[in-house]
């Protein structure tokens, strides 16, 4: 029923979009959009740097081959057409003609091949292009990707910040692309906006590229991205009109307050591909937490309803599995572990941990890595006391301290927030796959979970383009991990894009503000 509603909603939305030019006002050209990003990007080249701090300015500077709409449909971008062979082992891409880099040089298939090689060699998400063996370039406008196996995540990996098309004549000079000077200064991009100034801790200023390959776009003259780490500062600046847009707003109190403001549009659309899921992770090799019964008992004792109502104020959707609820592969029929203290107590009794004379069974610690996660960690202490677990909240002085503790498996439980990055192959497999148990790497399989069937299911789902088949495989996968529970998913982070009502075509595609803002305009 939900799915049907969604389809209806999508078609209504599409109809509305199609009708827009005749019904509503024409998008206007010109103007400066002032928006916020939350931290200083390490640099501006998403080809060799993950994260949305780089992604938000990076996708303005660099175009990708495809873009995605609100309904997960790939749309032409630098690739005018694309064709996947029936065996799934070759993908032919025809580039749009007349596209140029910001220095005027034409964008050719050579650049596409170079970009894919660079991303494959340098980007932290190794699974994105791992099956790509070679990129053939029969002519300047055609690139043919040869794969070792069908790769369902490939099209998504060609969109937004995951595949920036970078100029070979700039980055192919032999310097390490990760520390190339053109990553932050004098950037020669391929996207709708070119770089004017990048001042660390202050702003990134972008300006319309006049010879952009999409006719009549972008609408905006300039985008000023101010670097504002403090959420209250951003909220106040949005209210005063000093800022016209800010993505990735996640403080429930601010969201509820800004929603009441008639001059602002607050939307949770645009994060389905980023796919942030918050969970309570267990160390499955921990003394107590190695027992699935203990993990299940904790899940039954945690009241997801309370967390979503009292701590998230209803701003965050419930998440039952490691796959984001906005993903087409999400399976909502898994065991939800709704609050049941009696069952939790029974499970712990069964596991052999009887209550002591003081009503307690054993002690566990819970970690959190950054301030926004603290309330959830603090909640565990009184809540798990109800089933006789004495929880100590462990704070870390900074993010690296936490990341080190978790990635070296020095923990019992931790609150965490991990991104799906579009396709499960990119962002979900890493959490569960037994060959991704890597000491020292945060957001690898830090739970040290290992199950042969789960590995097999992920491998199969990652090697077929048949989406119905994949849905089945991921459904079985989600059922298994929901029962064995290496981590207990609680909610999808309440990311919202806040924009002034004077902003037209606010970015609602699955990549949100981390996608080209060439259609955004000021009314």
């Amino acid at each position: 029923m939900k799915r049907i509603l969604k389809t209806v909603a999508t078609s209504v939305a599409t109809a509305a979009l199609l009708a827009t030019p005749t019904m509503a006002e024409e998008p206007k050209k010109g103007g400066t959009l002032t928006m916020a990003i939350q931290q200083t990007p390490r640099h501006l080249n998403p080809a060799v740097q993950s994260g949305t701090a780089t992604g938000q300015p990076g996708t303005q500077l660099f175009a990708s081959l495809l873009r995605y709409d609100e309904g997960w449909n790939p749309q032409p971008f630098l690739a005018e057409t694309w064709e996947v062979s029936s065996d799934g082992l070759s993908v032919t891409i025809n580039l749009v003609k007349g596209a140029t880099f910001h220095d005027g040089a034409p964008i050719t298939s050579e650049d596409v091949a170079f970009s894919i090689d660079t991303v494959k060699a340098n980007h932290p998400f190794k699974s994105m292009f791992a099956p790509v063996e070679t990129v053939e370039t029969p002519d300047a406008n055609t690139a043919i990707l040869k794969l070792s196996k069908p790769h369902p995540a490939l099209l998504l990996a060609m969109s937004s910040q995951l595949l920036s098309i970078i100029p070979k004549h700039v980055y192919g000079d032999g310097q390490d692309p990760k520390s190339h000077p053109a990553n932050s200064e004098g950037v020669v991009g391929s996207g709708p906006f070119k770089l004017v100034e990048f001042k660390r801790g202050e702003h990134v200023i972008l300006e319309r590229y006049e010879n952009y390959f999409m006719e009549g776009l972008p609408y905006l003259d300039r985008i000023v991205m101010r670097i504002l780490p403090d959420e209250s500062t951003r909220a106040i600046a949005l209210e005063s009109g000093e800022l016209q847009m800010s993505g990735f707003e996640s403080n429930p109190r601010n969201i509820v307050r800004l929603k009441k403001n008639g001059a602002l549009r607050v939307s949770s659309e645009g994060y389905a591909a980023i796919g942030p899921v918050n969970w309570l992770a267990f160390n499955t090799k921990g003394e107590k937490t190695s027992d699935p019964k203990v993990r299940q008992a904790i899940a039954y004792a945690v009241d997801r309803e309370f967390i979503n109502k009292a701590l998230n104020l209803g701003t965050a959707p419930t998440a039952l599995t490691g796959i984001h609820p906005g993903s087409p592969f999400y399976d909502a029929t898994v065991e939800a572990y709704d609050l049941d203290i009696d069952k939790a107590n029974a499970l712990l009794d069964e596991a052999g941990y009887a209550k002591g004379s003081d009503g307690m069974r054993f002690a566990l610690s819970v970690d959190y890595g950054w301030p926004a996660m603290k309330p959830y960690a603090e909640y565990m202490k009184p809540q798990l006391k109800k089933i006789g677990i004495d929880v100590a909240v462990r704070s870390s002085a900074d993010f690296p301290t936490w990341a080190k503790r978790i990635s070296t498996w020095d923990f019992d439980m931790t609150m965490d927030n991990v991104f799906n990055w579009g396709d499960p192959v990119i962002g979900v497999h890493r959490t569960y796959s037994s060959d991704n148990i890597k000491e020292g790497v945060i957001w690898s399989n830090t739970q040290q979970y290992s199950n042969a069937r789960v590995d097999e299911l992920m491998e199969m789902a990652g090697a077929t383009n048949d989406s119905n088949k994949r849905k089945e495989l991921y459904a079985e996968f989600q059922q298994i991990v929901a029962n064995e529970l290496p981590l207990y998913p609680i909610f999808a982070s309440p990311y919202h894009t806040v924009s002034s009502t004077s902003v037209g075509n606010a970015p609602d595609s699955v990549w949100g503000t981390s996608s080209p803002l060439d259609r955004v305009y000021l009314k």
Partner: protein, 295 residues
């Protein structure tokens, strides 16, 4: 001979008692100080005797989050997790006061040692110790204590030590100046001529006479240590498993615009406590410092 000695001892005792009595009278004649003392005793009673009457666990979630004070039977309301703020104020007060006292003790120990040696020996020793003191004095104290807590982890012990380590300089300077004055006194010269050893002179002869301003200073330290702990907790740098007033402020801070009372109540408690301690300290200062008695 021994008879004479006893007589002298008696005389000193009488003098001590009378000066204590005089001091007490002085103190109680100062209405502000008395008000401070009454306030302090009330706070101590609330914090230490309160939990006998009100037994709710401060960490237990007892009701809906942010229940307003005086509603649903919660005198001070509930916090963002629905925990009873009244219980948190009692349990948190014990911790805040304990940290205040312990940190003051740490800083007095360091400060008195450094100041005493500097003042007594003078010369190169003084030069070195006072430069050392100045080094600590110019460090931004809050930042420095944050670094210590960040390095060694957040626990009650590290927080207490961090506060103590950054706030001893004032005590050191007061102690040094007292020693500089007292070491020239005749009775010190007399003791020295009796070939008393240095440590005996420092701790048995000079220190007891230098105590009054140090006691006042230490008393004020307790207040500032409580404030310090609150600041660290506010920044999320204290042990989250221990309830303190600063902890209550820190964990409810993100919700200040929606439920200001959860932050205002512990803030007011800190304000009252520090005020009470300052008033008492001021009264002690007047009572102990004979020069100011004519004021």
């Amino acid at each position: 001979m021994s008879e004479i000695n006893t007589q002298i001892k008696d005389v000193t005792n009488i003098q001590a008692t009378s000066s204590l009595r005089e001091m007490t009278t002085m103190f109680f004649r100062n209405y502000a100080a008395v008000a401070g003392l009454i306030l302090l005793i009330t706070i101590l009673l609330f914090v230490f005797a309160g939990p006998w009457l009100h037994t709710t666990d401060p960490f237990e979630m007892v009701w809906a989050p942010f229940t307003m004070p005086m509603q649903e039977g919660f005198i001070l309301g509930t916090d963002y997790l629905g925990r009873d703020i009244l219980s948190a104020m009692m349990a948190g007060g014990q911790v805040s006061l304990a940290i205040g006292l312990a940190a003051a003790l740490v800083s007095v120990t360091i400060g008195v040692s450094v100041g005493a040696f500097a003042g007594y020996y003078g010369g190169l020793v003084e030069e070195l110790l006072m430069r050392f003191t100045e080094f600590f004095q110019v460090l931004p104290t809050l930042l420095f204590s944050m670094v210590i807590v960040a390095l060694f982890g957040a626990s009650l012990l590290t927080v207490t030590l961090a506060i103590g380590v950054v706030s001893w300089t004032a005590v050191a300077r007061v102690t040094r100046s007292e020693f500089l004055r007292i070491r020239e006194m005749e009775y010190v010269a007399a003791a020295r001529s009796g070939s008393a050893r240095d440590l005996y002179l420092i701790f048995k002869v000079i220190l007891p006479n230098a105590l009054p301003p140090i006691v006042v200073q230490a008393n004020l330290m307790v207040g500032s240590a409580i404030l310090f702990e609150a600041a660290l907790s506010f920044l999320g740098l204290s042990d989250p498993n221990v309830m303190s007033w600063g902890q209550v402020i820190g964990s409810n801070r993100p919700y200040i615009l929606d439920a200001g009372f959860a932050v205002a109540i512990p803030g007011f408690a800190i304000f009252l406590t520090v005020l009470a301690i300052s008033l008492v300290g001021d009264g002690l200062n007047d009572a102990l410092n004979p020069k100011l008695r004519q004021r």
